[in-house]
């Protein structure tokens, strides 16, 4: 693995759109100011997006094509381009022997994802995947609740996420399950391991689904329901039912949770703090969303330098993509009782197999 020791890490930002502006820009500025990285190139075929980022990194090269980028082997490439070009950009970056931090999903197929990961191994570079939610204190706390079981065994998780695309959003390159549901699946697998059974339905009919529902079984006792949508504003929350309590997480809240212990008369909604210790010292709030995004990027830089093991590698996130692929291969039409009987009949396809077990 190439390491730059204490030198400033050159960084190529591939894709300067909404994701980069919203999620990476503050962390990039902070880490550049701290001398840990230097943004050397901004790549996007949308000139306006490039210019928007260039305001903050005026000395960075601006270009519409990766071929023109001047960056040495061992640089870090953040690949935040659209799904239609992401895996191609990753392939080019890896061929240039750049480490990569890629938005998920890294590809629309596991075959292509495997090939990219193999290339990363051959090139001896790091392949990190951006799943910032895994750095959220609330998400880590929920993992402890699921795995250490202080509220008893987990019985069920109900997950409802998504809504209409914001005005600035680009055209979708895939259905909602691949573009958004994969993040929810990644968390489920990180919390609970891979499911034993899964059934899936969506409303695609020749195109991209905007509503996707998955029902999952983990082990013998734990079930999960997932609904992701681009159609209507969802409740945007995950609700956990344990033997001895409930927990609720508002999607994308970094450090807030709601808990209700069985037998108590109220739920408690609050902000996660550092563990209570010496009574004279006030506990401080845990990391905010912005701080988590910063931590994610800082961690990747440290991992490149060999300072710590990479937390979220490409291999570790492959399972979620594999499950999305299985979903699409075995999808059933979503029940839409608000349509006419004739329309519902048109949308139904006969069930040719029972999807119930791992292959």
């Amino acid at each position: 693995m190439h390491s730059h020791g204490d030198s400033v890490l050159p960084l190529v930002l591939i894709g300067c759109g909404a994701v980069s502006q919203r999620s990476y820009l503050p962390a990039l500025r902070a880490l550049q100011s701290a001398g840990r990285l230097r943004v050397t190139a901004l790549v996007d075929d949308d000139e306006r997006a490039c210019h928007a980022m260039a305001q903050f990194f005026p000395s960075a090269q601006q270009t519409g094509t990766l071929d023109d980028v001047v960056a040495p082997a061992g640089s870090l490439a953040i690949v935040a381009s659209g799904l239609d070009t992401r895996s191609d950009h990753l392939a080019i970056a890896l061929a240039r022997r750049w480490h990569v931090l890629a938005e998920a999903p890294i590809s629309i197929s596991t075959a292509r994802a495997h090939a990219l990961l193999e290339t990363a191994k051959t090139q001896d570079v790091l392949f990190a995947v951006a799943h910032p939610r895994r750095f959220f204190p609330a998400v880590r706390y929920l993992r402890e609740l699921c795995q250490d079981q202080p509220l008893g065994a987990l019985l069920h998780i109900d997950m409802a996420e998504g809504g209409p695309l914001p005005r600035s959003a680009a055209r979708p390159q895939a259905g909602v399950m691949l573009e958004s549901g994969i993040h929810a699946l990644d968390l489920l697998i990180w919390w609970l391991g891979e499911p034993q059974q899964m059934s899936y339905s969506d409303d695609a009919f020749g195109g991209f689904e905007i509503n996707a529902r998955a029902e999952l079984i983990f082990g013998t006792d734990t079930t999960a329901s997932l609904h992701v949508t681009r159609d209507w504003t969802s409740p945007q929350r995950y609700r956990f039912e344990f033997e001895r309590g409930l927990a609720e997480w508002a999607v994308d809240e970094a450090r807030q949770l709601t808990l209700q212990l069985s037998g108590t008369r109220a739920a408690l909604r609050g902000e996660l703090l550092a563990p209570l210790g010496n009574s004279s010292v006030r506990s401080s709030a845990l990391a905010s969303r912005a701080q988590c995004l910063h931590t994610q990027l800082a961690h990747v830089i440290t991992a490149i330098r060999g300072g710590e093991a990479l937390e979220i590698s490409g291999e570790q996130t492959l399972a979620a993509l594999q499950w999305v692929e299985r979903c699409y291969a075995r999808r059933r039409p979503l029940l839409q009782p608000w349509l006419t009987a004739e329309e519902q009949a048109r949308l139904q396809t006969p069930l040719t197999e029972t999807f119930s077990t791992l292959p």
Binding site: P164, P172, F205, R213, P333, L334, W338, E343, Q348
Partner: protein
């Protein structure tokens, strides 16, 4: 028939896309103004085109090859008033011979006079500003159709309800929050139309051999009171109808400074200038206005109050209606008869609402 559906992600347009495509009634070209509006029509692998209504060249290109162009009025008064002219001009340039415009029955007011029908005079001064904009838009539409020799049909539906309807969402949320209310026991007329009934009327216009150059009021078959509407909704949602507030007198509504500011922003002059305002400044202003409008914190000496009825000027006016909009002209000229009954329309509407809350089994 090849029908161009503008604003294809919207409530009415989306249902037209679904009905025509799934029912094999013709070919659909789904047109949206921005890429973020593509998801709904993109379920079907249809031809989609992107054209902002203000971009004449893009709109003309998007309409090319179609037999019919359909567009529905949006809520923004500034957009509503000018859209018909733009669409008609583009349709003429693209040689689309027929244009269908979905406006609003509330050009007659939300509490229409007895015996109101399509021939009743439209009194703009007595209308809410959004309704006055619709009235103006419809006049422009027919003027342009005549000038450009287009077969123009204008439909005037009341409250359009159904799956994906903001009205159904509001009814459901108000009932759940204990904020739903009835004016004087809800004896006023609910002037609504189930979306599939409106779509049926639209397709009749698309296929009609006569009847162009006229406006048509479109409604459900039944005369339904607001009490019946909320009772049906309560049953669908398993909420006690006793939670409904009975309001005997409506409050006086005078526009707040925020309402006046919003109307000023909606004016064509300001709308034209808005693109010149930096996005960050617009965002900060919106945040400031949102914070300014936030309710004051509760005085700590007061006990929590029970939920109060959420009364808006528009809903207040609607609940006072004593006249049901007729659809006689649509029946005589187009052969319109509402295919979906009110009870079935409400069942489907709340089936959709329950789905959004995750209460529906997932698959067939």
């Amino acid at each position: 028939m090849k029908i161009a559906v503008l604003g294809a992600g919207g409530l009415i347009a989306n249902r037209v896309v679904e009905t025509v495509h799934l029912g094999g009634r013709g070919d659909v070209v789904a047109i949206v103004a921005r890429e973020n509006e593509l998801p709904r029509p993109s379920r079907f692998g249809l031809e989609t085109r992107i054209a902002d209504m203000a971009d004449a060249s893009a709109l003309t290109s998007a309409l090319t090859g179609c037999d019919v162009a359909l567009f529905a009025a949006t809520d923004s008064a500034a957009v509503v008033e000018h859209t018909p002219s733009l669409v008609c001009q583009a349709a003429a340039a693209a040689r689309v011979p027929r244009v269908i415009y979905v406006g609003s029955a509330f050009v007659h007011g939300r509490n229409p006079a007895p015996n109101t029908d399509e021939t009743s005079l439209l009194q703009a001064s007595s209308l809410l500003s959004a309704d006055a904009a619709h009235a103006s838009a419809e006049r422009r539409f027919f003027a342009e159709c005549q000038r450009l020799n287009l077969a123009g049909y204008a439909l005037r539906p009341g409250i359009v309800y159904g799956p994906r309807s903001p009205f159904i969402a509001t009814v459901a949320e108000d009932l759940a929050a204990g904020e739903a209310w009835l004016y004087r026991r809800g004896l006023g007329i609910f002037n609504g139309v189930y979306v599939d009934n409106l779509v049926h009327a639209i397709l009749l216009c698309a296929e009609a051999s006569n009847g162009a150059g006229q406006a048509y009021l479109i409604s459900d078959a039944e005369t339904v009171t607001w009490a019946e509407l909320y009772l049906t909704a309560s049953l669908e949602l398993d909420i006690s109808p006793r939670s409904l507030h009975d309001v005997q007198e409506l409050p006086e509504f005078s526009p707040s400074w925020l309402d006046r500011a919003e109307r000023a922003v909606a004016s064509p002059v300001v709308q034209r200038a808005l693109p010149l305002v930096p996005a960050a400044l617009k965002q900060r202003t919106k945040s400031l206005l949102k914070a300014w409008n936030a309710p004051l914190s509760t005085e700590t000496w007061s006990m929590p109050q029970p939920a109060q009825p959420r009364i808006t000027p528009e809903l207040g006016e609607l609940q006072r209606a004593a006249w049901k909009f007729p659809f006689g002209r649509a029946h005589r000229v187009l052969g319109y008869l509402p295919p979906v009954k009110f009870a079935e329309g409400m069942r489907r509407s709340f089936a959709w609402w329950r789905f959004t809350r995750g209460e529906t089994p997932p698959a067939y």
